[in-house]
């Protein structure tokens, strides 16, 4: 990747802040780690300080906390059903963390944690492993009937089973790639238009207006992608729990 200072992709570079070496593993504290800690801390502060008063009639902040709780609770209930209650903490943590990572990244000059495919792939891999294990523990070997859709003639099985297996294995890849591509392309686009503003001088007002609109779209995307990631997690969980 280009190391040129003004390349639109230079915003995604990881810098080491505190070098830490454990054996042969490079566990340095990087700018990516700073923003991950910031996201986790702000989720914690947002939730715990918002609920500190525990008022009967919630104020603005407490309403926001309750709203986000109910939003995910409804999502889990509608998509997974009663058995999904057990997975609510996981889904809620996933949603809040991705949302706050995306939201913090919207502030200029910050680092976009979710623009690194290894981060999003780690999220997706956790979801994938969890869903597979849940399915295996709940249904045993019967879980593999997931790969043969119901009511399909047995003659079609040799054709359909490989397709279903491939689509099952593609899930974490598509889940990770969607979040990564959205954030990376969105932030690169903002930088490219930012370059136009400088290049055009006085006429740069036009691209500046485009940036304002794009920024609104990016804010929508930051929320929407966190939502899509969570709803797909719920749908996969539902598949594993109820097998069709």
């Amino acid at each position: 990747m280009s190391t040129e200072a003004h390349s639109p992709l230079s915003q995604f570079e990881v810098h080491t802040l505190v070098p830490i070496q454990i054996g042969s593993v490079d566990a340095s504290f990087t700018n990516a780690a700073v923003f991950m800690v910031a996201a986790a801390a702000s989720v914690l502060l947002f939730l715990s300080l918002g609920m500190a008063k525990r008022a009967m009639v919630p104020g603005r902040w407490q309403s926001l906390v309750e709203l986000s709780y109910e939003f995910i609770a409804n999502l889990v209930r509608d998509n997974v059903g009663k058995e999904g209650r057990r997975f609510f903490p996981f889904v809620f943590a996933l949603f809040m963390f991705i949302l706050f990572c995306n939201a913090i990244a919207l502030v200029p000059y910050t680092f976009t944690v979710t623009s690194h495919i290894i981060v999003t792939f780690a999220f997706a891999a956790v979801v994938f492993v969890l869903v597979t294990l849940v399915g295996l523990f709940k249904h045993g070997l019967h879980f593999f009937s997931l790969f043969l859709p119901k009511g399909v003639p047995i003659a079609l099985a040799p054709l359909l089973v490989p397709i279903e297996i491939i689509s099952y294995l593609a899930r974490p890849v598509s889940l990770a790639l969607r979040l990564f591509a959205n954030l990376t392309a969105g932030h690169t686009m903002l930088k490219v238009f930012g370059g136009f503003v400088v290049m055009l001088g006085l006429a740069g007002v036009a691209p500046l207006l485009v940036i304002v609109v794009l920024y609104g779209l990016e804010t929508l995307i930051a929320f929407l992608q966190a939502y899509v990631f969570t709803i797909l997690t719920c749908i996969y969980l539902n598949d594993a729990l109820h097998l069709h």
């Binding site: 990747m1 280009s2 390349s7 639109p8 992709l9 790639l177 969607r178 591509a181 959205n182 990376t184 392309a185 969105g186 690169t188 686009m189 490219v192 995307i221 929407l224 992608q225 939502y227 899509v228 709803i231």
Partner: protein, 74 residues
């Protein structure tokens, strides 16, 4: 062909996929509008699915855009 020129041509070719995304997003919102026009009461139930569909199609657009950016600046 010069490598720089080939890069620009490649970046242009990479975003051809956006035409399909344009059709897709148009299709989603056209269906949303016609369904709400037929049954305005269904708006609340249909809207989340519209947004989900929009986000999924939008993601495809950004795959193409990302490849183009990587060719241009990578």
């Amino acid at each position: 062909m010069d490598v720089e020129a080939a890069k620009l041509v490649g970046a242009g070719l990479a975003v051809i996929g956006l035409s399909g995304v344009g059709i897709g997003i148009g299709n989603i919102f056209a269906s949303f509008i016609s369904s709400v026009a037929r049954n305005p009461a269904a708006r609340a139930t249909v809207f989340p699915f519209t947004m989900l569909g929009f986000a999924l199609v939008e993601a495809v657009a950004l795959y193409a855009l990302l490849i183009s950016f990587l060719i241009l600046f990578g």
